[in-house]
Symmetry: C2
Amino acid sequence: MELFYSSDISDGRLYLDGEESQHCIKVLRHRTGDEIAVTDGTGNLMKCRLTDDSAKRAGAVILDIIPDWGGHPYDLEMAVCPTKNIDRYEWFAEKACETGIDSICPVIGEHSERKILKIQRIRKILLSAAKQSLKGKIPDICDALPVKDYILQRKESSDRLKLIAYCFEDEQYPRISVKDALNDMPEGCRAVSVLIGPEGDFSPEEASMAVECGFIPVHLGPSRLRTETAALAAVFAVYSHFML
Amino acid sequence: MELFYSSDISDGRLYLDGEESQHCIKVLRHRTGDEIAVTDGTGNLMKCRLTDDSAKRAGAVILDIIPDWGGHPYDLEMAVCPTKNIDRYEWFAEKACETGIDSICPVIGEHSERKILKIQRIRKILLSAAKQSLKGKIPDICDALPVKDYILQRKESSDRLKLIAYCFEDEQYPRISVKDALNDMPEGCRAVSVLIGPEGDFSPEEASMAVECGFIPVHLGPSRLRTETAALAAVFAVYSHFML
């Protein structure tokens, strides 16, 4: 099954943009009358019939809409510091989308070497991964913001399980495993935010601030995982907790 | 901490090869008398003192040996079909090593598009990942072999939990989640083998043969995961089961 994306939808009709039209008409050779599947990126799968096989702006009529298509029974926000090597961050975005997340917040820590991120590129990777893994909802990605700003934004979110993966070597804050943290979640809570630091880890001030704002210190087991591997390990832990 | 690798060890002394010597002496500027940490790739961490700071063949005397260093309390063999895009397989090898595995068996399925794999390249990635993630044991990688040969090789391994991730759409073999399969493991069993198919999945004959030879059909949740993501999800599941 091939999934297309459209943001140009109204009155029971939709249009594919240049790139999607090219792929649909030129590469896959769909013609007027063919049925195609289109997502609006918010979770809806639309079964459509092509009414215009233009390779620049293909048009279709919507036959049926399936909401929350390819969705998951949790809400997962990953606040992850960009890696020095950006390929690794892009790889994380792809794999996290494939597995099932709702949003990525690129956060810049005091020890972050990379302070700038091309959001448009990641957005494209998320769109492509969502189509590939047949998910109706494309994860959101927000503009990069400092770790401390993110923590303050999430301070009042008491309806979410908020986790921070940090070594806390001074043992001021004892850590539990991410698995135990998920098992201890209040019943009915399905929203999780996970904060993952840069290669140089969080600063002690960032870590203390997170704990004061309700983030639970967690570890991801004894292996020394890179930033992007740790982030994906957390995604798999949440996926596994709710799904398997 | 920086970890070096040596296979040239005897009588309480060791030598680093050209590449490792270059890195140790030229890049990190270690000199005779410095203490360095060296792994032999089988799990031993050797604390050494440099006695010869040659950038071509540095020599050192072994002061102390710590066995099973950076090890994990399970034995995990991943039999994974090579992906069409080999970068994805190499990425899996790196991430799996970081997390904790013992061996990779590249297996060629009847539906595999890629039938050849450069083992030396993967071996190099595993060495680099083991050093980066401070693991004394470098995972083994064997030569590629057909899926059916691998299954027959593992037929008599009744002391291992053997899992196959396959869609089994005909429902001839009901699947359980990989998490439940791990929870149902016989007490004391710590050896796991997981078989992951190519982009085109296993052939029905391969899948039936695996089940007949004691492989338990498992799923990795509802998301449609790529080969390399599925393989890493299985690695995380085993890691999480034994460690967290």
